[in-house]
Every structure is written in structure tokens, then in C-alpha cells.
Assembly symmetry: C2
């Protein structure tokens, strides 16, 4: 049965990538060995790592601009700790924008290492919008934001203009749209939405912002240690890096960020148009801040909701239950989601 | 061509496991979805995580003995930091046994958090033996050892007797032999030798030793946080956990640790006997401390070495180059390595 996989993450990957990954588990590069049973320091895997790094810089338009690319472990959750360790002086200060659960977790970890000023928050309205018009204290050492909130279905369209290092958690919308990525000094993202399977974390960092805190940083938390070892300070998450590389190559072959943005916009428009015109549905996020990755909506009539659930199940639509803190539904329409699957969902919405 | 994969890690996995993993990438549990594109909180994956934890306790004989099992990210290298964070009081003291590179790295990270006393070391002879007859200071809060050294080919046969918590890095020989595992209070192991692919780290911890330091521990470094969330505080490394579960099931079906120990002993005996009887070869580790996982040896005649290299290549033998700090050769003969592959290597050694 054809499935339409709207899972929020780990989430849909291109079929061609899954097929290549499946083959590599049995026989990688015609070595008669599995991808997952060779040394990470073998020429065959080093080439995978280097290609993943090159594709990242190429797709983000950051080649030859002083950025390093890392594939680490621990997810964005470990980055919440690594960012202040690497960028905040002892008793220093950082400015955080609170747009939901992930920002809040980042703030909690940063507070262990210094002073955190939450310069803006949308907590007052259950994070249903992106706060704007705030000021950043001049003595902060960096500004941290979360580009897309998977739970509340919001997405930052315009990022803060600042002279200090701008750090962004892009876990749920990396590689989904065209941006001037050089406005960021540090980007991090768990792979398991638009980039690959769970198990690796992308970090893109401008080299010049590192080494300024005076802190002694534990080896595994030190970006410079990982840069010096080309993401092989210890054994990397081989399979997750490989599948990420394949997914980035798929994206490049498709036409890169300009092409995928166009497709993502079309999918989002199709779904939001139905939400806005069908009286049975109601979007939960402020219209101007709506995410093009995670579309959150409610059905207020419980009988109609039951009927909707039944029809979705029959149509092979999976993963659209909303997060408990918002309720209702969440359709995640990441890069690999085809327009046809969104159309299948909209067709059912029209029947309600 | 049939390959004989002696890689030190990531390393050989059972063929049946690779076949199951390859299929799950395309269609997991007949869901018509890939293992790597479903939610880690779905019933199907939660069952994988629980089974991996149960198999771990069952194989180690630690069921109902107050231990928790975690599958984390970051490898043993992150454990080097997590162990002191969770077990060492501020300005506390820990005792470490230095048996090579991995112990030394563990000591380096622990020193960031307190006083480390290296109670024994075999550095004086390039780590070619396991130090014995040392005393542990009574004011230490735990003792740390490394059960097997992949680089120097040594393995601890008898562990220190102590009343304080005993912590052991078993990355390279976990699940390879019968031990009284209840003598350990904390065991950790990167998966990529005897347990699965790179990308997940097993931690088995006795619950009662936690929560005693008074430290504020960052969330991702706090074992109790991961225990409370059943290894799902953040997205786990789904694929690596799944393949580990399959490998543990394969091991259980084979007869568990007693069965695999017998096979590992037979493989080790076959190879060491050839090293000891063939005048062209010389073992590098002290005989009584020889590892049954990583067999290190030299060929002193360079012409014979070239001939050996050529014959190995022709026979499909891969991954036996020794680590640069020892030189020569290293044949890693982990659980999944069949006796036939060791025999293939010995057959070539006999021709030299």
C-alpha cells in the first residue's frame, strides 16, 4: 500500500536514497563489504564524509567563506550545550529568542554556563507566532534563534540583524529554502528532518568566532577539536552521514535550494489554502509566521475529527497527529514529501 | 569475492543482521515505510528500543539487579566526560587504570572535573601488558578501567576487587565472554565492534550509584535524565539501535555469552598458536594479557612482510594493518568473525 508519511521526524526521505542506502548495507562501493563494517578512516568512507561537507557548503552558498562543516553526534540537544561552551565567556551573556520548546531547552542549557537574556518570547500565546521588534543588549556575546518550530508550526521569515555572532538551530527547515546563509555564524541541525536519518548532527560554523572564550572545553564539546579532526575525533555515525550525503546529492541534482523552495512553497500553499477555505479546519499559527515544513491545524467538531482520522487511515496517511501541547493535527511536509501526498491529504479534507 | 574482514571497528557484523537491516531500510515491520523515516516514539520503534535493553540485561545476566540500560550518542569519547560528571563530586577524586590510548583519553576528560589518580599504568612498555598489584586510594569515588585495548591487543582477565563503584569501558570486548557483570557498577561501550554499527553507545548503570555528586549536570550528560526518558530524551540513533538489537538477538540465538566465548577462544587460539610457532611472526602483547578480540603481531623481515601483504590482498583479507603506534599487524576477530576467516589468515601465515 502506498503510504503518505507526514511524520514530524524522523521523517520521509527520498525513495532513491533509501534504495541506495539499503544496497550499501549489503555491498558498499562494490567492496563486497557493508558500509557499516568498514573503518571510518578507510578511503571509501573518508570520501563520503568529504562529499557531505562539500555538498553542505555548496547548497548553502558558503564555499570559500571561512566556514567549517561538522557531522557530530548528540542531536540539536547536545548543541544546546556546545554553543554556550564554545561561544560564551565565563560569566558572559547571550541573547536568546524563545519561540517554543526547542528554544526553551537551548536556554535552559545555556544558563548553566552564563547569563542568558531572553530578548523575545511568544510564550504568551502558546508560541503561535514569531516575536518581532525586540532589542538585543550590546553586551551579549551571541544571539540564538530557532528557525522553525516543528511543534507549533511557526517559521522565522526574517532573521535578526546584528553585528554579534548569529546562531541558528535549523533542525527542522535546513536546506528547505533560499536564504543568505552568510548572515549566520553558526548553524546546527539534527539530520532527521530534511537531511537524513537520526544519528548525526550538522554544524556549520564560521571559524573566526571560535577560540575566544578562554574556557577549557571538554574535547567532545569543542568545535575546534572536531574541526581539527575533520569530524573524526572519534568514530562518526557512519550510516547517518552516508544517508545525509545521498540526500544532499539528491537535493543538488534536483536543482538545489531554489528548486526545493519552489516545491515546498507549492505544497504549503495547497495545504494552507484548504485550511483557510474549508470551514471545518482552523490553522493554529499566525498566518505571516506559518511554517512551510510543519502545518498545524485543528478540527473543532469531534465527530468530523473521527471521520477525518478514519479516512486518513484508509488512504495510507500516517504521522499527522498533532503534538500534545497543541493538539489537533500536524502535517510535516519536508523536502522529500511529494506534492501528490499533500494532494491526497487535501482530497480527504475536502470530504469532511 | 568472499572477503575476510579483520577491521578493528567499525567492524564485521553477522550477515543475517546485515540482510535484515538492508530490508528494514526499504520496508520495516511490513509498515510500507522505512525504519529510518518513522517516529522514534512510534510503537514499532519503541519496541525495538525495549527489546535491545532487555537483550542487554539478559545476555549480561543483570536482569532484576537494579541496572538501567541506555542507548546514547557520542561514543565512548563522550562517556569519558559523562562518567566523572555523574560520579565525581566537585573537587572529588577518582582512580584510573591506564592501559593505553583510550584510558588516557578518559583520564584527560576526568581531570577537567576533579582529581584523577592514575593508580596503575603500562605506559613504560608501550602498553604491551595489563598492570597488576596496585592499590586504590580509599578516598576515590570510583575506579575506572578499560577492559580491552584495541590498539595494543591487551585484555583484562581479572578486574580490580573494590568496594567503590567500578566503571569499565568495554567498547571492544562487550558481549564477547562470560564475566560476573555484577562486579561492575557502570559499563559503557561504543557499539561499533561487537554490538552494531557506529552511532550508538551502550551504557549499563546501577541506579543506586547515581545522584550523589551534588553537581548540576547538563541534561544531555546526565544519565538520570536519559533513564527517566528511556533513552528518548532526544531522538536516538534509530538505525544503530535497531542493528544493535538484531545483533544481540543473533547472539542470544547462538547461545549467548557462553557459546560465543567458546568460539572466540577457538579463534584466538588458532591465531596465537600460529604466531607462537611460526618463526616469522612475533606477538606484541604479554602472553597472559593477550586480547581475544584484537591480535597484534609483527613480521620483522620486511621482504616477508611485503609477500604477506600481497597474499592477504589476493585472499580477500582486509583491515589487518596495525595501528601506527604499534606497527605491524592487527587482526580483529570480533564475535561475528567466523573461524573460517581466521583459518584463511593462518593458511597464509603458514606460507610465509
Amino acid at each position: 500500500m502506498k503510504k503518505h508519511n507526514f511524520s514530524a521526524g524522523p521523517s520521509i526521505l527520498p525513495r532513491v536514497v533509501l534504495e541506495q542506502a539499503s544496497k550499501a548495507i549489503l555491498n558498499f562501493n562494490n567492496l563486497d563489504l557493508s558500509l557499516i563494517e568498514i573503518s571510518h578512516r578507510s578511503a571509501d568512507f573518508v570520501a563520503v564524509m568529504e562529499k557531505a561537507q562539500q555538498l553542505t557548503l555548496n547548497l548553502l552558498g558558503l564555499e570559500n567563506k571561512g566556514y567549517s562543516v561538522l557531522f557530530l553526534q548528540g542531536g540539536a540537544s547536545l548543541e544546546f550545550l556546545m554553543v554556550p561552551y564554545n561561544l560564551m565567556k565565563e560569566n558572559g551573556k547571550a541573547a536568546y529568542i524563545d519561540t517554543g520548546v526547542w528554544s526553551s531547552k537551548a536556554i535552559k542549557e545555556a544558563k548553566l554556563l552564563g547569563n542568558v537574556e531572553t530578548v523575545a518570547s511568544s510564550k504568551d500565546k502558546n508560541y503561535s507566532y514569531i516575536p518581532k521588534n525586540f532589542s538585543i543588549p550590546q553586551d551579549a556575546e551571541y544571539v540564538h534563534c530557532t528557525s522553525n518550530n516543528t511543534i507549533f508550526g511557526t517559521q522565522i521569515k526574517t532573521f535578526p540583524k546584528t553585528d554579534m555572532p548569529l546562531v541558528c538551530d535549523m533542525s527542522s527547515d535546513i536546506f528547505s529554502r533560499v536564504l543568505d546563509f552568510s548572515q549566520f555564524d553558526l548553524i546546527y541541525a539534527g539530520a532527521q528532518k530534511n537531511m537524513g536519518p537520526a544519528g548525526t548532527t550538522l554544524v556549520v560554523v564560521k571559524d573566526e568566532i571560535l577560540g575566544k572564550t578562554g574556557r577549557t572545553i571538554p574535547s567532545m564539546l569543542d568545535y575546534q577539536v572536531h574541526i581539527n579532526s575533520e569530524s573524526m575525533y572519534n568514530t562518526p555515525s557512519v550510516f547517518a552521514v552516508y544517508v545525509s550525503m545521498l540526500t544532499l546529492q539528491w537535493l543538488k541534482d534536483l536543482g538545489g535550494l531554489a528548486a526545493i523552495e519552489k516545491m515546498n512553497n507549492a505544497k504549503a500553499k495547497l495545504l494552507y489554502d484548504e485550511i483557510d477555505t474549508n470551514p471545518n479546519f482552523k490553522g493554529t499559527a499566525a498566518i505571516e509566521d506559518r511554517s512551510h515544513m510543519n502545518v498545524t491545524f485543528l478540527i473543532e467538531d469531534t465527530e468530523k475529527a473521527a471521520s477525518f482520522d478514519k479516512l486518513c487511515k484508509e488512504a495510507g496517511i500516517s504521522g499527522i497527529k498533532g503534538h500534545r501541547s497543541v493538539g489537533g493535527y500536524r502535517a510535516s511536509i519536508y523536502n522529500a514529501m511529494p506534492l501528490e501526498s499533500v494532494q491526497a491529504l487535501v482530497d480527504i479534507m475536502k470530504k469532511i
